[in-house]
Amino acid sequence: MAEKDKAEEAIEPINRLDAKSIALQAMLPGIVSDFKVTINTAFDLVVVAVEPEEIKQICLLLRDNDETAFDYLLLLCVVDYEDYLQVVYHIYSTSLKHTLVVKTNVSPEEPSLESVTPVWKGADWYEREAHDLFGVSFNAHPSLSPLLLYEGFEGFPGRRNYEMPEYKEW
Amino acid sequence: MSLIIDVGMRVSLILGLLTGLSVVVLSLVWVERKFLGRIQMRMGPMVVGPYGLLQPVADAIKLVAKEDLLSPWVDRIVYWIAPLAVFIPSFMIWVTIPISRDIVIRNMDMGLFYIIAFSVLSIVGLVAAGWASSNKYAVLGGFRAAAQLISYEIPLIMAVLGVAMLAQSLNLQEIVNQQDTYVYALVQPLGLLIFFIAGLAEIGRTPFDIHPAESEVVGGPFVEYSGAHWSIFFLAEYINTFAVAALTVLMFLGGWLLPGLSGGAITTVGVLVFFAKTYLVILIIFWFRGTFPRLRIDQLMSFGWKMLVPLSFLNIILTGCYMFYGWPAWLMSIISVTILASVFWLVSKRMNNTKKEYTVHIYKPESLEVKNAG
């Protein structure tokens, strides 16, 4: 339990925003007003926490809106907080040069999420990797075949509760 | 009884030729490695023997003593015959290549035709090797070899034809003797160029080393071969290289003839002259290998069919006119050089839809300039 407390505290906001992020933080609520989001900060970046069902619509909106124009996916990553899996999208705008973090939580039992490959093609392998290592299944992804692990690998080695098999030295 | 002696003599001649060619190949390997080393600012082999002279011998021993690896899926019979099918033609053409006046195993009246006919046969060996290896890369390599060699056979024959027309003979001895006053390279620079390029493509050396391309098809038809089998291919390749260089020398560069050399000395000193010229041509081939990248198969084919074949026909027509109207030799060379120059100009212009200009620019944001100024 102790570890979990730590984890939850870990997302406690620290504010070191630069000018672009401050402007973004001010602008965002107007743009995503249709959705249920919470806007937060993490160190120098603006963080938007969204519902997993809405992730694809929000991403599309953020990409196509001229004021945000997030056309570049920096990083898609899954963080295992034991109680829930957090899928984190770092997105960037090549024209406006600002960065945003989009987060969404899914349950660890049957994590399932809408794929963002139609939004950014670059999400393809990231999602396959997340599927491999954390078992998050992305709906409507072109093919979720194993990328880093071999076919038929058991378990999700990225998760914190994964038991490492005993290896013999040879 | 005399029959046995005679056959024995001929067998020993062939064996002698085999030995001689093996020595030449060993020397070529050494020269190539040293020369490439020099081009690439390194020493080349230095350990075995003085200046690494015995390195090729050590390599040969290693190759023969090596275990023969055989993939279980290969087609044994074709796999075993293929190296021979490549090697025998490349060896057989040496029966009629003279190395000096009257120093030749058999002086054939149709020597050049014989050489061309036999050199075609080795393609079958390459395709067979590619197919028998049961390897996708080998099959790709075999296809490439077949396509490439068949295409370049035509300009090669045409270039040879020009020389044959000039000399009124297909006999190599005769062709060299005809070059007494001036070498054919002066009369037919176009023919020389076509022959040399097509010859390079025939033996598959850089920039035409498309069928054994290491970085693409990992050695092409030879990918599954090892040890003695592979070394037979290797021998064939170098013998072919030597043959192309020798033919260039014989047909265009005056063979064993040298200004000031006459009388009985021609036969003996001629051997040295011939070898010196041949090795110079071979060094040019190695030099290409050191500097050029490799062409792609479709570029190679379009170059062959759209450039070399028309040019070689033009060469023949020119030669015909020259013979028929009895033009002076200098006129012929001038025309030839003019055509060459215009072709070079055309090619470089055509190639330059791949423009020779910088498509890369240095971008400096405005803000930085301001920052530096302040």
Binding site: - | V11, I14, I88, M110, F113, V124
Partner: protein, 193 residues
């Protein structure tokens, strides 16, 4: 030391010597030896030809065809028809066989079941018998004189080809040209594709 390697080398040397001797032997030799060589070559050609029809592997068949054609070329060589022999090697040995191999390897031929039995079988049988009989009769009836072998000078061949046989020569080249153009027309992609 690998035995296979050494054996292979010895094999290579032997076969090279054989081919070499064959090429060298054809000049200035009395007929008695030539006859022996002829029978060997004829046997090679025949076995090759039989193999072409007997084997089920198409690749083998094409290689055997090559053997047979080479055997015929050697016979030409034996008859001092050097030019013919070389043309045989150049055209059949090189070009034709390569094209056949290309076809076989690039297409799915080996996956199509070979059809060994159909309604035309009796006709084919009769036709082949007829052809065989015709050839046999021709050979038996003809009165071939065994004379001295003499090699025709190359220049003479050329002269006769371009004077006496000029029209057939041109017709043959025209036919080839038509075939060439036809091949291009068939092979080029259709406009609407």
């Amino acid at each position: 030391m690998s035995l296979a390697g050494i054996v292979f080398y010895i094999l290579a040397v032997i076969s090279i010597s054989m081919v070499g001797v064959l090429v060298l032997i054809t000049t200035n030799y009395d007929l008695s030896l030539a006859e022996t060589v002829f029978y060997i070559l004829a046997a090679i050609s025949l076995v090759g030809a039989l193999g072409v029809v007997a084997t089920r592997n198409v690749i083998y068949a094409s290689f055997l065809l090559l053997t047979s054609l080479m055997g015929v070329a050697s016979i030409y060589l034996l008859l001092l028809a050097e030019f013919l022999a070389l043309v045989q090697i150049l055209i059949y040995g090189g070009a034709v066989i390569i094209v056949i191999l290309f076809f076989i390897m690039l297409t799915r031929v080996h996956e199509v079941k070979s059809i060994t039995d159909n309604s035309q079988k009796p006709f084919a049988f009769i036709t082949s018998l007829l052809v065989f009989g015709l050839l046999l009769a021709g050979i038996l009836n003809s009165n071939i004189e065994v004379g001295e072998r003499s090699s025709v000078p190359f220049t003479e061949l050329g002269t006769s080809l371009f004077t006496q046989w000029a029209v057939p020569f041109e017709v043959a080249s025209l036919v080839l040209l038509i075939a060439l153009i036809g091949a291009i027309v068939i092979a080029r992609p259709k406009e609407d594709e």
